[in-house]
Symmetry: C2
Subunit: 231 residues, 2 copies
């Protein structure tokens, strides 16, 4: 194609979303990376997102503020503590306190708004239904339902100018497969930030669900994780 | 019922959403009113929303900030001018520049998040598909698609504890019928604010699509509009 198609890519700065962005770029899309400042306690991930957007070559990176803290309800936005050192069984047994209600619905809605403004038909989200830490809005049926909303609730969709597609290329991959894909696509893993509860200097805790899933993925992929964890 | 069921009610401070809130209260719900500060040029509507939430007896009223201005793209968030004095034919001929991309998807997503936190299954939105000024996210098929997303993308929905319902009680009513319903339900019409492009002192312009639809609705209902318009 002469002109590259535009895509909006949700980018948290973690391993999955960074790999997803690298994947969209490899597919030939001109990528518009979108991050959110929603009062998350691991706000340091926004710095990681900015560095990764630049490293990977996104056309633009925007951070939209959302006052989710107003509504309360999640350990990730300051209520309660982040659970640590849980076994894989504990992680998948239920939906954890780090779940932010309707987060991916909110993020995809904003990505959709930006896509419509940019004239983009494609939205990428790095969700994963295998090592997914029990979040309902990481499942294929949710992604499909949202695609319907996108096509019915927008000017571009209704006028038939655009058929929106929500891409979730990592949805059926294991964390180890994602690590390998990240390496293959040239993601600078040192820049990625996955921890829900980092130290003040930004170092990962090593024990929250997100750290544990990441470490297990690296171990299974046989790749050294460049991040330093506490002993 | 001994304990009233909770509902989240989107409240812009306009005629439609205020009537919708009054309707939900009349149905017996304990109502949690939700407004958004998204950089709209008619931000004065947030004061109207607060007064109406109090007048009508909402249990709580929250204003969530969303940095939509970051993304650009609408006359309502400062780009371009608000069209004036359009005929009914012009209004329904296409989707106007005051359309905010994916706005109702974004608002419903945040309402869903709050509903889940509150333990509410019901969400009310005052959209209207008749005198709707050409917005795609005011149509019944959009509302139904979003209901699917709500039940698939939330902890409460997936665990089957809650069956979310998106109520759009005004969706098939004319503006005149809404005015009559507002009067019947005791909405203080003097407090409602509908204008997209108000003067610095808050008075409505009288000529934007929203003012024109409102004035026509009051005229057809045979009700005097308590707002003062320029001559």
């Amino acid at each position: 194609m002469n002109e590259r198609h535009k895509a909006v890519c949700l980018l948290s700065g973690g391993l999955d979303s960074s790999t997803c962005l690298a994947y969209a770029l490899r597919q030939g899309f001109e990528c518009y990376a979108l991050s959110f400042d929603y009062g998350q306690r691991h706000r340091i991930e926004l710095e990681a997102a900015a560095r990764l957007a630049a490293q990977l070559g996104a056309a633009r990176h925007r951070v939209v503020r959302i006052g989710l803290g107003e509504l309360g309800g999640s350990a990730l936005t300051g209520e309660g503590s982040v659970p640590k050192s849980r076994s894989p069984e504990e992680m998948t047994a239920g939906i954890p306190t780090t779940y932010v209600p309707a987060r991916n619905t909110i993020f995809l809605a904003l990505a959709l708004g930006w896509a419509e403004i940019l004239g983009a038909a494609d939205i990428f989200i790095g969700v994963n239904a295998i090592d997914y830490s029990g979040y309902p809005d990481c499942r294929p049926e949710f992604i499909e339902a949202f695609e319907q909303v996108a096509n019915l609730g927008t000017k571009a969709g209704v006028e038939g100018r655009v058929r929106f597609r929500i891409h979730a290329p990592l949805i059926r991959m294991s964390k180890a497969e994602i690590v390998k894909l990240a390496v293959e696509l040239g993601v600078d893993l040192k820049l990625t930030h996955s921890c829900y509860d980092p130290a003040a200097d930004g170092r990962p805790c090593g024990a929250c669900d997100s750290c544990l899933l990441r470490r297990k993925g690296f171990a299974e992929a046989g790749v050294a994780d460049p991040l330093e964890y506490p002993q």
